[in-house]
Amino acid sequence: MGVEFKQLSFTYGKQQILDEISCNLRPGCLHAVLGVNGAGKSTLIKLLAGLLYPTSGAILLGEEHLEKLSLNQRAHRIAYVPQQQHVSDLIVFDYLLLGRKPHRCWRSVHEDDTRVFAMLKKLDLSHLSQRPLHQLSGGELQKIALARAFIQEPKVLLLDEPTSSLDLKNQLEVMEIIAEETSARNLTTIITVHDVNLALRFAEHFILMKDRNILVAGGLEVMTAPHLSQLYKLPLQLYFHEGRLQVTPS
């Protein structure tokens, strides 16, 4: 399911956060939103998740207007994972069952259990199934939160800085899971990310946000030294290393 937003604006109080931005996002593609702190990345994700309401403009999921969908219809289409996960003494399995909430009436059924088992197995997280959330490490918690989003079986996956509090190994693992599931499930995945190299490694489409607007959006061709230097107000250089595009401050 493609996602399109047109002339999207958002103001918080008197402060304009987003100013008439438009973009087209396609299914099966990992989109990375890049920008400095306060550029409006998280706001964009929350608008797309329907957690905030745009001041003006429209968000389209395929042919449907997001605002016209009920909360449960949205939950069938969009999964959202925030930057910080709330921990509780809920065990991992029961937490993952929350992902089935939009799909069931009022009780848990065997099929829900099966889907949770399958996802735990697929992500190699079975050993955590009976552990309380507050006993998990940051990396484990992030993977479990992702698993919950996949179990929701969305068409659109919105992730707010999924790697921000993780070590290098976990960053790569989490991004690999996201990239694999995006292509396997033909998801329209949108992530905000600070690590440009991580974005370059995994994403296929880039949205560079600066001063309430989209500076530029597109494939690898938009990731140029002038664009990135302008984005981060810092002289940056790009180079190829072992066939991959990398960026460092010059």
């Binding site: 929350k46 998740a49 329907g50 957690l51 909360l71 449960n72 949205r74 939950a75 969009i78 999964a79 959202y80 994972v81 925030p82 996960q85 709330h86 509780s88 003494d89 809920l90 065990i91 399995f93 029961d94 937490y95 929350l98 992902g99 909430k101 939009p102 069931r104 009022w106 848990s108 259990d113 099966t114 088992f117 399958a118 735990l120 197995k121 079975s126 050993h127 199934s129 009976q130 309380p132 507050h134 919950r148 929701q152």
Partner: protein, 355 residues
């Protein structure tokens, strides 16, 4: 080790453990109910109890069983269920372990209302012009109506404060504490000017006493408890979703603002009814959910029923101990719950590994 069959087994065991815990406590209700039916001012044997329940040969026994013992048992169950469930869901929607009917000031509001009702009812004879409108209403009904209105008023103020000022969830508890103090000051003010009879009545009203409710009141309580319990159980997965945070819950299809508002209204309504008929039964709404959480965790599918059962058990045992401790003087259950509440609550907080 981690085959899907093994995972399924682990999860089944986990569910079974929690279910057994629920069943064990539910079974405890039976002897507890038997004990409360046997304890009281007049001595009854098992045989007399059963005869009183099912046959009506002996009028006195029948009267004792049907008008004193059984209302107390049912009152304990209804009061325990409604107070503990209200506490559990308030803790869930406000995400604050201190949320409970007493900490939100609802009980204190009711106490002030009752004190005002008692003052007014004794002034009826002196000022027939002012209280003429209530001429057909008995004093006890007037007191109950005042208590109910003021406990609801507390609820309305708290909800308005949180919505108008968009206050945080912590502020709701603080607002409750502030309102409690205000109502306690108001009650003290009325007590200062009350005559001896009024003073005795006001003080006696604040002791939560299960022997106070009669059948019509119990029917009303039963209806409110049934409806509120139904709403809470239907929303148990929504309360679970809140454990993952408000934003995630909303992205899972939960209308968080509406759920929080309706839950608060229903929980406080159920509490108001209980407090109106029984007086203040402190700590039940706080302790029962905490004890249950220790036993079955935060999953509301198990937490809510266990809280309800433990709440009922606490009130039954408080009532029985009240009857036995200073026999022949029967202490009201509210005194016992307050006495028990403090050490148990401190133990739950400081004895907790996770704290």
């Amino acid at each position: 080790m981690s085959s899907i069959a093994q995972l399924g087994q682990n999860q089944r065991n986990h569910r079974r453990r929690r279910l057994y815990c629920l069943l064990a406590f539910a079974l405890l209700l039976l002897p507890a109910a038997g004990l409360i039916m046997l304890s009281g001012a007049s001595e009854l044997s098992y045989r007399q109890l059963l005869e009183g329940l099912f046959c009506s040969h002996d009028d006195v026994t029948h009267l004792v069983v049907w008008q004193i013992r059984l209302p107390r048992l049912i009152g304990a169950i209804l009061g325990g269920v409604s107070l503990s469930l209200s506490g559990a869901v308030l803790q869930a929607v406000l995400k604050n372990p201190l949320a409970a009917p007493t900490t939100l000031g609802i009980a204190q509001g009711a106490a002030f209302g009752a004190a005002l009702g008692i003052t007014c009812s004794s002034m009826r004879a002196s000022f027939p012009n002012i209280f003429g409108a209530f001429s057909g209403v008995t004093n006890s009904v007037l007191i109950s109506v005042f208590a109910f209105v003021f406990s609801l008023l507390t609820t309305v103020v708290i909800i308005l404060l949180t919505h108008l000022r968009r206050a945080g969830k912590e502020s709701i508890i603080l607002a409750g504490v502030a309102l409690s103090s205000l109502f306690m000051a108001g009650t003290t003010f009325l007590q200062y000017f009350a005559d001896e009879t009024q003073l005795a009545m006001i003080v006696h009203w604040t002791f939560g006493d299960l022997a106070r409710a009669s059948w019509p009141e119990l029917y009303l309580m039963g209806l409110v408890t049934l409806l509120s319990t139904g709403y809470f159980f239907v929303n148990r997965f929504n309360y679970n979703a809140l454990l993952a945070g408000d934003e995630v819950a909303q992205s899972l299809g939960v209308n968080v603002v509406r759920l929080r508002l309706i839950t608060m209204i229903i929980a406080t309504l159920a509490t108001s009814v209980t407090v109106t008929f029984f007086g203040i039964l402190g700590f039940v709404g706080l302790i029962a959910p905490h004890m249950s959480r220790r036993l079955v965790g935060s999953d509301n599918c198990y937490l809510l029923p266990l809280s309800a059962i433990i709440g009922a058990l606490i009130l039954i045992f408080a009532d029985i101990s009240g009857q036995l401790l200073l026999d022949p003087v029967a202490l009201p259950a509210g005194v016992i719950t307050s006495f028990l509440g403090t050490p148990v609550f401190l133990l739950l907080i400081f004895g907790s590994r996770s704290s």
